[in-house]
C-alpha cells in the first residue's frame, strides 16, 4: 500500500505516558515526556479503567459486550451480564475483537485506486466520487451487504430506495434451509429461538451450536446449564452426523450418520417416537412424512444400528425437555432443507415446541439474505448489467464459491466500492475504499433476536481516519441530492431518532443514558410477529421454497462425484467464515479440536489414515471437480472413515500480515475453492456439502504448528467418572473437615488405582513436615497445623479455583481472554512448531484412543481439561529458583517476579503440570496492536519465565478498593479473565479458606480431585471429574 497509516493523535493527550508497561525500560534512559490532556474528559481518571457497554459484531449473533478502557484505549472485551445473548460471556472471537480494532493492516483512510497504487482521499472527495458514481449508475447500482439488523438495516433500505440502488443480501452462513423449513413447519419467517438450558436431551444434526451456529455463546451457556451434572441431574447430548467438530466432541453419544442422511435419521427418530406413543403427537402433514419412514432402511442408509436410533428416540422423547437442532453449515447438503424440516418435525413429535423451541421469537440475525441472490447478482454482473457495486460487511471473493469468471467480473465492475475496514480479497479489487469504523468506534445498534436490541457505542476515538458507513451514506445522500426519510446530519442523530421513535419511545436524555449504561434493551413479551427484520424475500430464479411440509423434498440426492471421500467443509470456531483470520490471537489460538494454530489441515479418521498410509502432517492433495488443494493431514478420531473434513477460514490471498504469511502467501487453504457455486433449490442457500473428493498423498510432510497430544498416554490427568458414581459422590460436602473423609475410596479421586507404595510414600512425606493433605481434608484447612508451611504469620486468603470439567466445552475462549488480559506474546507459526507457544491457560483435549475411530465405538468425543498454573502450596517450581523469582505469596499465590527472573528455566523443568511458559524471544506488538496492552501487567521481554498469576492485577485492584472503602472482600468479587468469559461457567475462583465461598463449596463436590495429587504439590485448583455416560446409565 502506498499509503502509510496515519494514526489519530489522541495518544498525545493521554494523562500518562501510554503503552503497556514494559520490562525492558529502566530508570535512566532518555527523557520521557509526561503529556497531559488539554481538556480532561469528565469520565476519565487517568489510571482508572472506564467500562463501556456495547455489542459484539464479530459474528451476527450480537452478544452484549463490556469493554474496559484506560486513558482512552480499549484494553479488554468482556460480556455484558445484562445481555440475554452473552450472559456476560464472550467466545474467543469476541475476545479477539480488539485485534480487529488495532489491526496494523487496517485501511487507514479513504483510498481510491490509482493504477496499481492507492490514492489517498479526504473524506469529502471520496464521498463526492461515490455521489458522482451513484448519479452515473442510477438503475445499474447494487448494494451488497451481509446480515444487518436494527437501525443500519433501516437506513440501508431507505438509502438504497432513495438512491435507486438495488439491495442484495447474502451471508456466508445464512441458514437458508433453517429459515425455509421454519416457514414450512412452524410458519415463522426465521430461525426460532432455542432454549438449550431447558433441554435435558439435546440432539444435534450437524449444528455447531457451541461454535458458530446462530447464537453460540447463548447456546453454549444454555447447553451447559441443561447438560452438566448438577445435583443428581445430568443431561444427554447426542450428536448425529459424519464429523465431530468442537460441538460434536462434547457429545455423550455419537451416531455417525453418513453425510446427507441426517434428515432420514431425524424422521426415523420421529417415527420411533410416534411408534412409542402409538402414532400421536404430530400434525397430519408431518405424520404422513414420518409414517413413510422405514427405520431399518434408514439405519442401513445412514450406517447406524437400528437399536441406537430407537434408543436415541426413546431418550429424546422426554416430555418436552429435549431439543433437536440442525442443520449447521457442516450438514448443509442438498437435503439440508429436509434436515431442517425433519428436525422441526422431530421437535414437534417430542413436544418441544414452545418449551425448548420458542417459535414465538426468532433469531433475527440468523441470516437475512440468500446465496441464490448473490448467484443471480453475479450472473447479472457477468452480463454487464451492474455499473456500480457497493460491498459492505461481506467478502464475496473469499467466503463463498463463485461460478467461473465471476471473481473477474466482480473485480471488473466499473466502480467497485468497498466499505471494508480491512484490505480483504474484495476490497483489494475495489476502485474506491471507504473504510468503515470498527464497531468499537461506532454508534449503532443490533437486534440479535426478537425483543432484544443491543447498543453499539464507541469505546474510544477512532484509531485511523476511517468513517462510519452510516455517516458516509447520509453524507453522500446530501451530496447526491436525494432525501431519505428521517434524514439526519449524522448517523448518531439518525440512530437517536429511531430509538426515540421505536426502541425507547418517550424516553428523555436520561433514558438514553440509562440505555447506554445497560447496553441492551430487552422487551419481554415481544413476539416474532412484531419483528420487522427484512426477511421478506424476492423471488429468485431456480429457487422454490417449500410453503408447507408437504413441499419439502426428503429424497434430495447426495450426488457422488469422483473420489473416495465425502468432502465436508465446516465453519471455523476461530475465524467464522474467514473474516477473522487477521486476528493474531485467533490465529495463535489452537483450534479446539485439532489444536493446530496458524494453518489449515484436513481431518481424516485413524482407519482411513492407516489405509492410505498417512501420518499426522503428511500432505495430501484433495481434488474435486471444482478444484484441488494441498493440505496436511490431521488424524481425527471423530470423523467417519469415508469422510474428509477441511475447516473454512484460512487461505487468504489478502487481509494482511496475520491472515497471510510473511511473504504474502496464503496461510493454509481456502476450502471453498473445492466447491462449486451450487444453489439449494429448496432454500436458496449454498450447498456446502456437495461432493466427494479424491485424496492422494503427495509424499510431502509438513510440520504442523500444533500443541498437545491426542491421548493421555495412559496417564491419569483428566479423570472421568460415571453418572452413578457421581450421584453417589457429593459427600465430602462436610466442610468442617471430616477426618475420615479421605478414607472414602470414591473421594480419593486420583488414588483410585493407587499403588500401595504411593500410600506409603504419602505417609513418609507426612513425617517430613509438609504433610500430604488429600482433598478430603477440605482445602480451607490448608496448611495443616504444625507443619512448617505457612511461616507467613498474617491472616491471608488462600486463593484457589474449582474447575468443573462437566461444564468445560473446550471452546478456548478463556485462552484468548487470558492473552488479552495478560499481555501474552504472540509467537507466530514457526515458534508454535518449535513448542514455544505461550498459553497461560490451555485446554487439553484428550481422546480415549488415538488409533481408533470413534465411529467404530460410537461413543462420545473427548474430555477437555483447562490446565493452568495450579498455584501449588508445595510448589516444585519455587525452591529451585536461585533468585526467588518464583516464590509463594502469603495469599497462596505462586508468584513469578518477572524483573527478578534470570531465565534458568529450572522452574519450568520442575513444574509437573508444565504450565510455565518462557519468552524465548522478545515478542513485539506492531503499532497499534500494542495499544491494547494492559498497563496493569508487565510486558515480559526475552529470557523471562511467565505463567498464570490468577490475574493478580485483578486481585490487587479489588484488594485496594476494598481497603480504600474499608470493607472486606466479597466472595465472587474477584474474577480472573478466564473465569469471567467462560460460557459454561466452568471456572470458579475464590478464597478456599472461606468455607462459605462458592469455590470451596464447589470444590467439596464428590467429583473433585486434584491433578497429580500423589506428588503432594498441594495445588489450589480442584477439578471436578467429567461424567461419562455409559450405555445403560443414561
Amino acid at each position: 500500500m502506498a499509503d502509510r497509516m496515519e494514526r489519530r493523535d489522541f495518544l498525545k493527550v493521554l494523562g500518562v505516558a501510554g503503552g503497556g508497561a514494559t520490562l525492558a525500560g529502566c530508570s535512566t534512559e532518555g527523557a520521557e515526556k509526561l503529556i497531559p490532556y488539554v481538556v480532561q474528559p469528565e469520565e476519565i481518571v487517568p489510571g482508572v479503567a472506564t467500562w463501556y457497554r456495547t455489542t459484539c459484531r464479530e459474528c451476527p449473533a450480537g452478544c452484549g459486550m463490556e469493554v474496559r478502557t484506560r486513558e482512552g484505549r480499549a484494553l479488554k472485551a468482556e460480556g455484558n451480564p445484562l445481555s440475554p445473548i452473552s450472559h456476560g460471556r464472550l467466545c474467543a472471537r469476541g475476545q479477539a475483537s480488539l485485534h480487529g480494532l488495532y489491526d496494523p493492516d487496517r485501511i487507514p483512510q479513504a483510498l481510491a485506486r490509482d493504477g496499481e497504487d492507492w490514492e489517498r482521499l479526504p473524506w469529502s472527495a471520496a464521498e463526492e466520487r461515490l455521489a458522482v458514481a451513484l448519479r452515473a449508475n442510477r438503475g445499474r447500482a447494487v448494494f451488497l451487504s451481509g446480515t444487518t439488523t436494527g437501525t443500519m438495516d433501516r437506513l440501508l433500505d431507505a438509502w438504497c430506495a432513495a438512491a435507486g440502488v438495488e439491495r442484495v443480501r447474502y451471508d456466508a452462513f445464512g441458514y437458508e434451509p433453517l429459515r425455509a423449513a421454519s416457514r414450512a413447519v412452524y410458519g415463522i419467517d426465521g430461525v426460532p429461538v432455542h432454549d438449550f438450558s431447558a433441554a435435558e436431551v439435546v440432539v444435534s444434526f450437524g449444528a455447531d451450536f457451541m461454535e458458530t451456529w446462530v447464537s453460540p455463546v447463548d447456546y453454549a451457556h444454555g447447553f451447559v446449564q441443561g447438560h452438566a451434572m448438577s445435583g443428581d441431574r445430568r443431561g444427554t447430548f447426542i450428536h448425529i452426523g459424519p464429523h465431530q467438530s468442537l460441538t460434536g466432541l462434547n457429545c455423550d453419544e455419537w451416531l455417525p450418520a453418513r453425510a446427507g442422511t441426517e434428515h432420514l435419521v431425524a424422521l426415523a427418530m420421529a417415527r420411533a417416537i410416534a411408534d412409542r406413543r402409538g402414532g400421536a403427537g404430530a400434525g397430519a402433514a408431518s405424520a404422513s412424512a414420518i409414517a413413510a419412514v422405514d427405520i431399518a432402511h434408514v439405519a442401513d442408509t445412514a450406517g447406524i444400528p437400528v437399536e441406537r436410533i430407537q434408543a436415541a428416540a426413546a431418550r429424546f422423547d422426554n416430555g418436552g425437555r429435549s431439543l433437536a437442532v440442525g442443520p449447521g453449515v457442516a450438514s448443509q447438503h442438498r437435503a439440508a432443507t429436509a434436515v431442517a424440516a425433519a428436525v422441526a418435525m422431530l421437535n414437534q413429535a417430542a413436544g418441544n415446541v414452545g418449551r425448548t423451541v420458542l417459535t414465538d421469537r426468532i433469531e433475527t440475525s440468523a441470516g437475512t439474505g440468500e446465496y441464490a441472490q448473490l448467484r443471480a447478482l453475479v450472473d447479472r454482473i457477468g452480463n454487464g448489467q451492474v455499473g456500480l457495486l457497493l460491498v459492505h460487511g461481506e467478502n464475496p471473493l473469499y467466503s463463498v464459491p463463485l461460478p467461473e469468471g465471476a471473481a473477474e467480473a466482480i473485480a471488473g465492475v466499473d466502480t467497485l466500492v468497498s466499505f471494508s475496514s480491512y484490505l480483504d480479497e474484495t476490497a483489494e479489487k475495489a476502485d474506491l475504499l471507504l473504510p468503515d469504523h470498527h464497531f468499537l468506534e461506532s454508534w449503532d445498534d443490533w437486534e440479535p433476536r426478537t425483543g432484544v436490541t443491543s447498543i453499539v457505542q464507541p469505546v474510544m476515538t477512532p484509531v485511523f481516519r476511517t468513517k462510519q458507513t452510516g455517516d458516509v451514506l447520509l453524507s453522500v445522500a446530501r451530496r447526491a441530492g436525494f432525501g431519505i426519510p428521517n434524514q439526519a446530519n449524522t448517523y448518531y442523530d439518525y440512530l437517536r431518532g429511531r430509538w426515540s421513535r421505536e426502541v425507547i419511545a418517550g424516553a428523555d436524555e436520561e433514558g438514553w443514558r440509562d440505555a447506554l449504561r445497560a447496553g441492551v434493551i430487552v422487551r419481554a413479551g415481544a413476539s416474532a410477529g412484531a419483528t420487522t427484520a427484512g426477511t421478506t424475500r424476492a423471488a429468485t430464479p431456480g429457487v422454490s421454497r417449500p410453503a408447507a411440509i408437504g413441499d419439502v423434498r426428503f429424497d434430495a440426492p447426495l450426488a457422488q462425484a469422483e473420489g473416495d471421500f465425502q468432502l465436508l467443509v465446516y465453519p471455523s470456531y476461530r475465524f467464522y467464515d474467514g473474516r477473522l483470520a487477521n486476528r493474531p490471537w485467533l490465529q495463535e489460538l489452537p483450534d479446539p479440536v485439532s489444536k493446530i494454530s496458524w494453518a489449515s489441515w484436513a481431518e481424516i479418521s485413524p482407519s482411513a489414515a492407516q489405509r492410505l498410509g498417512l501420518d499426522m502432517g503428511d500432505v495430501v492433495e484433495v481434488t474435486t471437480a471444482a478444484g484441488s488443494v494441498e493440505v496436511p493431514v490431521f488424524i481425527h478420531p471423530g470423523i467417519r472413515p469415508d469422510t474428509i473434513a477441511i475447516q473454512l477460514g484460512q487461505g487468504h490471498t489478502a487481509l494482511g500480515r496475520y491472515a497471510q504469511s510473511r511473504e504474502g502467501e496464503p496461510r493454509g487453504v481456502n476450502a471453498t475453492r473445492l466447491l462449486a457455486a451450487e444453489v439449494d433449490p429448496q432454500s436458496g442457500g449454498l450447498v456446502w456439502i456437495q461432493t466427494t473428493a479424491s485424496v492422494r498423498a503427495t509424499g510431502d510432510w509438513e510440520h504442523l504448528p500444533a500443541t498437545g497430544k491426542l491421548t493421555q498416554g495412559g496417564r491419569e490427568i483428566a479423570l472421568t467418572t460415571t453418572v452413578a458414581e457421581a450421584r453417589r459422590g457429593g459427600r465430602i460436602a462436610d466442610l468442617n473437615g471430616d477426618e475420615h473423609a479421605e478414607q472414602d475410596p470414591v473421594l480419593a479421586g486420583a488414588h483410585h488405582d493407587a499403588h500401595p507404595m504411593e500410600v506409603v510414600v504419602s505417609e513418609l512425606q507426612g513425617a517430613g513436615g509438609f504433610a500430604p493433605l488429600t482433598f478430603g481434608g477440605a482445602p480451607q484447612d490448608y496448611p495443616p497445623p504444625g507443619t512448617y508451611y505457612g511461616e507467613y504469620t498474617e491472616e491471608h486468603p488462600r486463593w484457589g479455583m474449582a474447575i468443573d470439567m462437566e461444564r468445560c466445552i473446550g471452546c478456548s475462549a478463556c485462552m484468548t481472554a487470558c492473552h488479552a488480559e495478560n499481555n501474552i506474546g504472540i509467537v507466530g507459526p514457526e515458534l508454535v512448531k518449535e513448542g514455544r507457544i505461550i498459553d497461560w491457560i490451555r485446554i487439553e483435549r484428550y481422546f480415549a484412543h488415538d488409533n481408533e475411530d470413534l465411529a467404530e465405538t460410537q461413543s462420545g468425543g473427548a474430555t477437555f481439561l483447562p490446565m493452568l498454573c495450579q498455584q501449588c502450596g508445595n510448589a516444585p517450581c519455587e525452591p529451585v529458583c536461585p533468585v526467588y523469582a518464583s516464590y509463594h505469596t502469603p495469599d497462596g499465590l505462586n508468584a513469578q517476579v518477572y524483573n527478578r527472573c534470570v531465565g534458568t528455566r529450572y522452574c519450568a523443568n520442575n513444574c509437573p503440570y508444565k504450565v510455565r511458559y518462557y519468552n524465548y524471544f522478545t515478542y513485539e506488538w506492531p503499532e497499534p496492536l500494542n495499544w491494547q496492552l494492559n498497563p496493569d501487567v508487565t510486558v515480559r521481554e526475552k529470557g523471562i519465565m511467565e505463567k498464570c498469576t490468577f490475574c493478580v492485577q485483578r486481585i490487587r485492584e479489588h484488594e485496594r478498593s476494598a481497603r480504600l472503602e474499608d470493607r472486606a472482600l466479597v466472595d465472587g468479587e474477584i474474577v480472573p479473565a478466564c473465569a469471567q468469559t467462560c460460557p459454561g461457567d466452568a471456572i470458579v475462583f475464590g478464597n478456599l479458606k472461606d468455607a462459605n465461598s462458592r469455590v470451596a463449596r464447589i470444590a467439596a463436590s464428590g467429583r473433585g480431585y486434584r491433578v497429580l495429587e500423589h506428588l503432594n504439590t498441594q495445588s489450589a485448583i480442584i477439578y471436578l471429574k467429567k461424567v461419562v455416560v455409559e450405555g445403560s446409565e443414561a
Binding site: 513436615g769 509438609f770 496448611p783 507443619t787 512448617y788 508451611y789 505457612g790 511461616e791 507467613y792 502450596g873 508445595n874 510448589a875 516444585p876 517450581c877 519455587e878 525452591p879 529451585v880 529458583c881 526467588y884 518464583s886 516464590y887 509463594h888 498441594q1018
Partner: protein
C-alpha cells in the same frame, strides 16, 4: 660477629645428608639446604619443627563452616520468602553451602599459611643460589662466623661437595 655464607653444592643425596650431619656435629646449626624435590631424608636430617600450616587450615575451615551457615541463615531471615512449602531455615541445603565454604576457606587459609610460614612470595634470589638446585643438585648453605669459614669448607668438601662457594666469590673446586 661477622658471618659469611658458605655454600656447598652436592650431586648426591647421601653426601648432602652427610654434610648436614657433620655440620651439626660441629655445632654449625645455622644452615639451609636447597633441594630439587622434597626429600624426607633431608627433612629428617634438618630436625624440623612442626609446620604451623595446619592451624591455618583448621581455622580457615571452621570459619568457612560458620560463614556458610550464617550467610544462608541470615539472608533467608533477612527477607523471609516461603518457597515450595519448605521452612525458611532449611538446614539440609544450608549444609551444602557450609560445606563448600568450609573447603573454600580452608584451602585459601592453607595457602595463606604456606605463604606466611615459607615467607613467600620471596623477592629476589639468594646470592648463593644456583640454578642447578632446581635441576637436580643439592646445596647446603652455612652462615658461619668468619673465623670458622675454613672449617666449614673443609667439612663440606669432606662430605663430598662438588663445589664450595663463599660469599659472592667463586671458590676453587676441590
Amino acid at each position: 660477629m661477622e658471618t659469611r655464607p658458605i655454600l656447598g653444592i652436592f650431586a648426591e643425596l647421601d653426601s648432602t645428608i652427610d654434610a648436614i650431619h657433620r655440620l651439626r656435629d660441629a655445632g654449625l646449626r645455622d644452615s639451609l639446604v636447597y633441594a630439587p624435590f622434597p626429600s624426607h631424608e633431608l627433612e629428617h636430617a634438618m630436625e624440623p619443627h612442626q609446620s604451623p600450616v595446619r592451624v591455618f587450615t583448621l581455622v580457615g575451615a571452621l570459619t568457612g563452616t560458620a560463614t556458610g551457615f550464617a550467610l544462608a541463615t541470615w539472608t533467608s531471615l533477612d527477607w523471609p520468602l516461603v518457597t515450595g512449602g519448605k521452612p525458611i531455615i532449611s538446614l539440609p541445603p544450608f549444609v551444602i553451602i557450609a560445606f563448600e565454604l568450609t573447603i573454600l576457606f580452608g584451602a585459601l587459609a592453607t595457602v595463606l599459611g604456606l605463604f606466611i610460614a615459607a615467607r613467600l612470595p620471596h623477592r629476589g634470589i639468594d646470592v648463593l643460589y644456583d640454578p642447578s638446585f632446581s635441576a637436580g643438585r643439592f646445596g647446603v648453605r652455612v652462615d658461619a662466623p668468619a673465623e670458622r669459614a675454613g672449617e666449614v669448607r673443609q667439612i663440606l668438601s669432606g662430605a663430598g661437595a662438588a663445589e664450595v662457594r663463599e660469599g659472592e666469590r667463586e671458590v676453587a673446586v676441590v
